[in-house]
Symmetry: C2
Subunit: 243 residues, 2 copies
């Protein structure tokens, strides 16, 4: 048995999120089924974190104790048992104390939204349509208020079970191409719905309903109801996990 | 009644092609149903050309005789009755003798293929995977042999009903990014499966099975069996129609 770290890309559209659950198909379950087929025994996998229903990943990471040689053939073997919307990208041996969740240093997420009146069929499954003109400069100013270490309780779903709300954001940038905005946020960890609530708050800034300098007040409240809406899952993509 | 020209974008994945048919859902039928709902009468639409089952369009064009004011609100009205994978982009009045098919001067198609060992879930519905290394330079050389006016009978499905196989290709270029090849071809018209067979032939050139200078011989045969395979529909996109 070897502790192996894997990179995996998936479209979350057809799944009830990463985590295994009754009555709904999860990405974890589908991957564990693939392991069972190639290893002839049950294998439990441990992700860097759950992604919610509908959320995608360019490169999510998970580790597992696996008995399979050579390790370099594991992606191909697993992919042959997986649907096309889940692809194992790579596999590499790691130390026995390595855990995809607890060993992670940084995670980067992307959120895509469009203010185009007519949403392209080619973009729609990865982009949220917002029917408003947005003030790009005000949103960029607001981004700066999220940088560094903060208590993110105001930017976390009230349904969380978390007790520690302190997280550090290393970068938060917005790229704009035509009428498509791509938010990229990197931090040491993210609370339940945190990226989607931060983007929802930035959209309120873009609409002029919240001023950039009010972000500090929202942090101070430590109350979910003062932040913006939770944006839809379908436009959230886990870009990468750094170890 | 006014003759109106429309631009429409669609993902062909869920449809049996453009043309209306029994027992299968076509893009034409879905759009005609939307017209019937907003105009309270049957409306027949005429496309620049059929696209096959699974083929996509960034901008297909069609015209129709429509009684609806103002014309500028037609896209919004139709889109409210259409599924998200079909979007009307614009509408403009044209002369009574204008026909989306017969008035077209040029069409441009894109075909995407990847030689990456692991196909990204984000690309797979728009990209064909080819499990071979391809000689990019040889494919580029072969492209030049397609330019200008030729009899394309060798590059047309044997199931065609066409009698005139003379077409003119204005440009044929390949863009390569990492291991994804994007073929862009512009011509005055295309026969049944013609783009997919040209790309299939270029892939054979890339694999070294056909030499670039043999393209002229294949044209001369006027026989489908000497050209390469018909590539899958899912990676073919009608980019635009010029009038």
């Amino acid at each position: 048995m070897q502790n192996i770290l894997f990179g995996v890309s998936y479209l979350g559209t057809n799944y009830a999120g990463w985590q295994k659950q009754d009555n709904a198909l999860s990405i974890q379950e589908v991957i564990e089924n693939a392991f069972e087929q190639i290893c002839n025994k049950k294998v439990e996998i441990f992700a860097s974190g759950r992604t919610d229903a509908g959320v995608h990943a360019y490169e999510q990471c998970f580790n597992a104790q696996v008995n399979f040689q050579p390790v370099s053939k594991l992606p191909q073997a697993l992919n042959s048992k997986l649907p096309q919307d889940i692809r194992i990208l790579w596999a590499k041996p790691v130390g026995n104390d390595f855990h995809a969740r607890f060993s992670a240093h940084k995670k980067t997420y992307i959120y895509r939204l469009s203010t185009q009146e007519i949403e392209s069929p080619f973009d729609s499954f990865l982009t949220t349509y917002v029917p408003h003109n947005l003030n790009f400069k005000a949103m960029q100013q607001a981004c700066e208020h999220f940088l560094g270490e903060h208590n993110f309780k105001s930017f976390c779903s009230a349904h969380t079970t978390a007790k520690d709300f302190i997280r550090t954001i290393y970068s938060l940038n917005i790229n704009k191409t035509d009428n498509v905005y791509e938010f990229e946020i990197c931090g040491n960890g993210f609370l339940y719905n945190m990226v989607r609530i931060i983007v929802g708050t930035l959209v309120e800034v873009g609409r002029g309903k919240i001023k950039p300098e009010q972000i500090a007040d929202i942090f101070a409240k430590q109350d979910r109801k003062f932040a913006g809406k939770t944006m839809p899952a379908k436009a959230l993509i886990l870009k990468k996990v750094d170890y």
